[in-house]
């Protein structure tokens, strides 16, 4: 579904991503592990079209994403839910969600149906629909952020550290929901520092260090890998 071939990204003279080769298969839940500053968000931004790669190719379902406008990438079916939630705090939850459906704005019936599906995933948001998104708790805001991304009807959903700053119980629910989204047919690429929780739901995982992918494997391989356990799980 998504294939990155020899992708480099530069910020000026600094090489932020170095020769990235990565594959995300249709229906998979692929986890990208890495410490702060490893380059996970840069990689997501490159796939989303927010940053232009200096070398290499990003292919999604036989389309080359390099050079595409970010809005065209969203229309193609690749949607990013950025780190830090980034909601419109003054807008209501409903308006935030509906902005996610921007690329399908003419399909009102489809959007209504999609909104119901999102509210089934996050029932609490129905109660809060008329509240300003900024007045919600961190966990609820993360639900709005994921819900908004889901409103774009992604075929590939990229979640950048959705568990960041959330209470442990909320994190658990969040990972269950991500797994549910995946089981309903959306391919997920998940960047996380919470390696144990992420690997438990992953079909495949990559490890990123200093802008390079240094390791990859399926869930069992990664969970059993001594280096991964030491560096990211702490066991």
């Amino acid at each position: 579904m998504l294939q990155l071939k020899n992708v480099d990204v530069h910020y000026g003279s600094f090489k932020a991503l170095n020769n990235i080769n990565m594959t995300v298969d249709t229906g998979g839940l692929v986890v990208l592990l890495g410490a702060n500053g490893a380059g996970k968000s840069t990689l997501f931004n490159a796939i989303s079209g927010l940053i232009k790669p200096s070398a290499g190719n990003i292919e999604f379902e036989d389309k080359i994403l390099n050079g595409m406008r970010p809005s065209a990438v969203v229309s193609a079916g690749v949607v990013q839910c950025a780190e830090g939630r980034q909601l419109f705090p003054q807008m209501s939850v409903h308006d935030n969600l509906m902005l996610g459906a921007y690329v399908h704005r003419k399909d009102k019936e489809g959007n209504r149906k999609r909104l119901n599906e999102v509210l089934e995933l996050f029932p609490i948001l129905e109660e809060k629909a008329h509240q300003p998104a900024g007045s919600l708790s961190g966990g609820q805001q993360q639900m709005v952020a994921i819900g908004r991304a889901m409103m774009s009807r992604p075929r590939l959903l990229m979640l950048d550290e959705p568990s960041l700053g959330l209470a442990p119980l909320v994190v658990k629910q969040m990972f269950e929901t991500i797994q549910q989204i995946n089981s309903l047919g959306t391919t997920v690429l998940l960047a996380e520092q919470n390696a144990f929780a992420a690997l438990k739901i992953a079909t495949h995982a990559y490890v990123m260090e200093n802008g390079q992918l240094v390791m990859d494997g399926d869930r069992e391989t990664m969970l059993g890998n001594e280096e991964v356990r030491k560096a990211y799980i702490g066991a």
């Binding site: 931004n45 989303s48 079209g49 927010l50 406008r69 970010p70 809005s71 969203v74 229309s75 949607v79 990013q80 950025a82 980034q86 419109f88 003054q90 807008m91 209501s92 308006d95 509906m98 902005l99 996610g100 921007y102 690329v103 704005r105 008329h130 509240q131 300003p132 007045s135 908004r148 774009s152």
Partner: protein
């Protein structure tokens, strides 16, 4: 007590009371001069509504806004005085000219971001001013344009008189407020706000930045052109000083004081400052000694402006009282700050 008063102000019926007050103003005013001042304030308010679309909602500080006001005024002035057009065709012409020029300037300037965009548009505003002043063959230069046609009346209505023209301008102001509220409630308005919150975030939602920024720019310049056209029809003289960059800074002040990005901020700020300025006329140039510090205090302690601070205070108070949006709406017809603003 204060909350109840606030809820009363935010009651949907308040806008009709405000409209009734505006309709009765000529009867309540002490003299015709006050009606004239109010009509002029309404014209500036229309222009500030335009400024609010591009700067308040969309987050792009357009410092050429006063220039587009002058283009609207000059379009009517030149088409009626030099080419013999009637007012209304010239008025439509002014809207088309400001929209087209807005599109052209927007298409170039909006490639820049933030302060680079602001500096670029500042230069555009200054170029417009210089053209009005120096291009004598077209604009009559420093002597300005006289003999501008007044809006054509009908029946006994003669728009050369102050009171009929007051109602004409009020009609356009009400239309502009209604139109802006429609934009604000629509997906287009939310798209502009999304862009204001950040280019990357807006783009990651699939929003075409350039298209929407240009659209906001064209809407704003058309508002400015409309205000300028009405100004020319009412004052019936225009000169290069109408394109002075200072007008843009006045509009920024009106918007900051009233409440940037709010529906009633442009009206509150413009009317408030125009009337405060009028009441301090006896101090002549020294009025700025009082007016300046007042503005500084307002901006420091109420950075959201009068309207924005009030809405935020009401929302916090509603939350503190444990009134959810629906409950508040039931009890006092107050909704969340943003929704009330949308409903108004």
């Amino acid at each position: 007590m204060m909350f109840k008063l606030g809820a009363l102000i935010m009651h949907p019926a308040s806008k009709y009371a405000l409209l009734a007050l505006a309709l009765l103003f000529p009867a309540l005013a002490a003299n015709e001069y006050q009606v004239y001042v109010m009509a002029t304030a309404f014209i500036w308010a229309i222009a500030v509504y335009g400024f609010n679309v591009i700067t308040g909602y969309c987050g792009q500080l357009n410092l050429a806004h006063g220039g587009f006001f002058a283009i609207g005024a000059y379009a009517v002035a030149l088409l009626t005085a030099d080419y013999g057009w009637n007012f209304w065709p010239a008025f439509i012409g002014a809207l088309v000219i400001t929209a087209v020029l807005g599109f052209l300037v927007g298409a170039v300037s909006l490639r820049l971001k933030e302060h680079y965009f602001a500096i670029f548009t500042l230069c555009v505003g200054f170029i417009i001013y210089l053209l009005l002043d120096k291009w004598e063959e077209l604009t009559h230069g420093a002597i300005g344009v006289r003999g501008i046609a007044a809006p054509d009346g009908f029946g006994l209505v003669n728009f050369r008189e102050t009171i009929p023209v007051y109602y004409l301008i009020l009609f356009f102001l009400v239309f502009i407020i209604w139109f802006t509220s429609r934009i604000q409630k629509s997906l287009l308005g939310r798209t502009f706000i999304a862009i204001r919150n950040g280019d990357d975030l807006a783009e990651s939602l699939g929003i075409n930045l350039m298209k929407n920024k240009i659209l906001a720019f064209v809407i704003s310049t058309t508002y400015a052109g409309l205000a300028g056209a009405l100004y020319a029809g009412m004052i019936r003289f225009v000169g290069p000083e109408d394109g002075n960059i200072l007008h843009t800074f006045n509009m920024i002040t009106y918007l900051l004081v009233g409440g940037i990005g709010t529906l009633f901020g442009p009206l509150i700020g413009t009317l408030g400052i125009v009337w405060i300025t009028q009441s301090l006329q006896f101090l002549e140039e020294y009025r700025m000694i009082i007016f300046g510090p007042l503005l500084v205090i307002l901006v420091i302690f109420f950075p959201l402006g009068v309207s924005g601070s009030f809405l935020t205070w009401m929302h916090r108070k509603a939350q503190a009282l444990g009134l959810g949006p629906k409950k508040v709406q039931q009890e006092s017809k107050v909704n969340t700050a943003r929704e009330v603003e949308n409903n108004a």
